[in-house]
């Protein structure tokens, strides 16, 4: 492991070469380059080092790629069938109305239509509050909020969880009361995940419970994986698996709540974790 630590001037010059220095640093560096031969030599050395590295890396591309590697990728097996996560049940209705039923339905619809028409005519414009609520409650906002919270807290070392894992009773009471979703704390140690604690936050204007795990075994040691849940339903009640903003997410829906597993995009086993959590939570 390298312990070589560049000096502040070296870092400043390196950032200057990349055009990443702020305005003040840039002016300081330019002044130094005019007046200080040592700084000038260091600047040239950094540029030379970058150029040497670039050339060496370009040379690496000239090496032939092993043919068996190309064949292995071209002939790789197709993805296995996606893991089926639980969906909200779709009711199956048999629709075979009789003549009198049709007549009665038409009458009810006529009266209902008249009633709705009357209400719309009496109050034609929806209030601003209702419009804002409708916009905020859509699925995309909710998912983006979940991702934003994950990205904020996943980088915390000392303040990852609001209630630590040592107080499971508090976690169950606090999150169940506030989200209205009954749950258990899944033991995901089989997936190399250790429970760290829980949080409560708002996403899309509704409370969301979040169980936080840290990977202590296997790929990406130290990575944080979160299970979030809320009563909010995703549009279309469907499960989703995707990567947003360098963050992977897998969601599933039950009749009572929507759940989501969130983790780094490099974690390729989020769907496996979601499948396990769905059976345990």
């Amino acid at each position: 492991m390298g312990t070589f630590k560049p000096s502040p001037l070296e870092l400043q010059l390196s950032a200057y070469i990349d055009g990443q220095a702020n305005e003040r640093d840039r002016q300081d560096v330019e002044e130094l380059l005019v007046n200080d031969p040592q700084a000038r030599a260091l600047h040239d050395a950094l540029k030379h080092g970058a150029e040497t590295g670039r050339r060496a890396f370009e040379d690496m591309l000239k090496e032939p790629v092993p043919l068996d590697l190309v064949r292995a990728i071209r002939n790789a097996a197709l993805p296995r069938k996606a893991i089926r996560l639980p969906h909200a049940p779709h009711p199956t209705l048999s629709f075979k109305p009789s003549g009198p039923q049709i007549a009665a339905t038409c009458l009810v619809l006529f009266l209902l239509g008249g009633g709705i028409g009357y209400l719309v005519g009496a109050r034609p414009v929806a209030s601003e509050t209702e419009l804002i609520s409708a916009t905020a409650a859509n699925g995309r906002d909710w998912l983006d909020d979940i991702i934003a919270h994950y990205r904020l807290y996943a980088r915390q070392t000392d303040h990852l969880a609001e209630i630590p894992a040592e107080r499971p009773a508090d976690i169950l009471e606090w999150l169940t009361t506030n989200t209205g979703v009954g749950f258990r704390i899944p033991d995901l140690s089989d997936s190399g995940l250790t429970f760290q604690g829980a949080r409560l936050f708002a996403a899309g204007d509704v409370p969301v419970g979040q169980l936080l795990y840290r990977r202590t075994d296997g790929d990406g040691d130290g990575d944080v994986v979160a299970i979030s849940f809320t009563k909010t339903r995703l549009e279309g009640n469907r499960s989703i698996e995707e990567i947003r903003n360098d963050t992977g997410l897998v969601s599933w829906v039950t009749p009572l709540a929507t759940y989501m597993v969130v983790g780094p995009s490099s974690a390729a086993d989020l769907d496996d974790i979601a499948a396990k959590a769905a059976g345990l939570i």
């Binding site: 950032a15 950094l46 370009e58 690496m60 190309v70 790929d219 995009s265």
Partner: protein, 158 residues
């Protein structure tokens, strides 16, 4: 796009990216046999998990992140199992590559991501799963190391 065509596409993309994937793998492993094994493992994983990829960012971000994650895991296994550390540690056969790959851990990766692959400091740090300050320090240190290697070589030749 259906699942079958998506898989076909990612295979094609992987083959096109193969030289660059190997190059990044070399900066992580330091030797060609392990780099090839790493590329094969990550390519297989990417194909199996191709439904995760929605085409919103650069495919390299995802692949490089996955590769770094697998390399970290392999490195940890080596520390636990010293026998594994001895296997396949053959040095590269190019002097310029040797200078790069013999740098301290993480230096060559930072240099490749910033100076060659064109990632921003933040993107490079995210791929290597390190703070941005540490990425910047590694990049600067790598440039300084290579600069002295280049100078020493020139002096020897003179």
């Amino acid at each position: 796009m259906n699942q079958a065509s998506l898989s076909t596409d990612i295979r094609r993309d992987l083959v096109a990216l193969l030289p660059r994937l190997r190059r990044f793998a070399l900066t992580l492993t330091g030797n060609a046999p392990e780099a090839d094994a790493l590329v094969r493992e990550v390519a297989d994983r990417a194909i199996q998990k191709s439904h995760h990829w929605k085409g919103e960012d650069r495919l390299e971000n995802w692949l490089f992140s996955m590769m770094r994650s697998r390399a970290d895991e392999a490195r940890k296994r080596k520390r636990v199992d010293p026998d594994a550390a001895d296997s396949g540690n053959a040095p590269g056969n190019h002097n310029s590559s040797n200078a790069l790959l013999s740098m301290p851990e993480g230096f060559a990766s930072a240099l490749l991501l910033a100076d060659v692959e064109g990632f921003t400091y933040a993107e490079g740090a995210a791929i290597l799963s390190i703070p941005t300050d540490q990425f910047v320090a590694r990049l600067c240190a790598a440039r300084l190391k290579l600069s002295s290697v280049g100078t020493a070589t020139s002096e020897r030749r003179a």
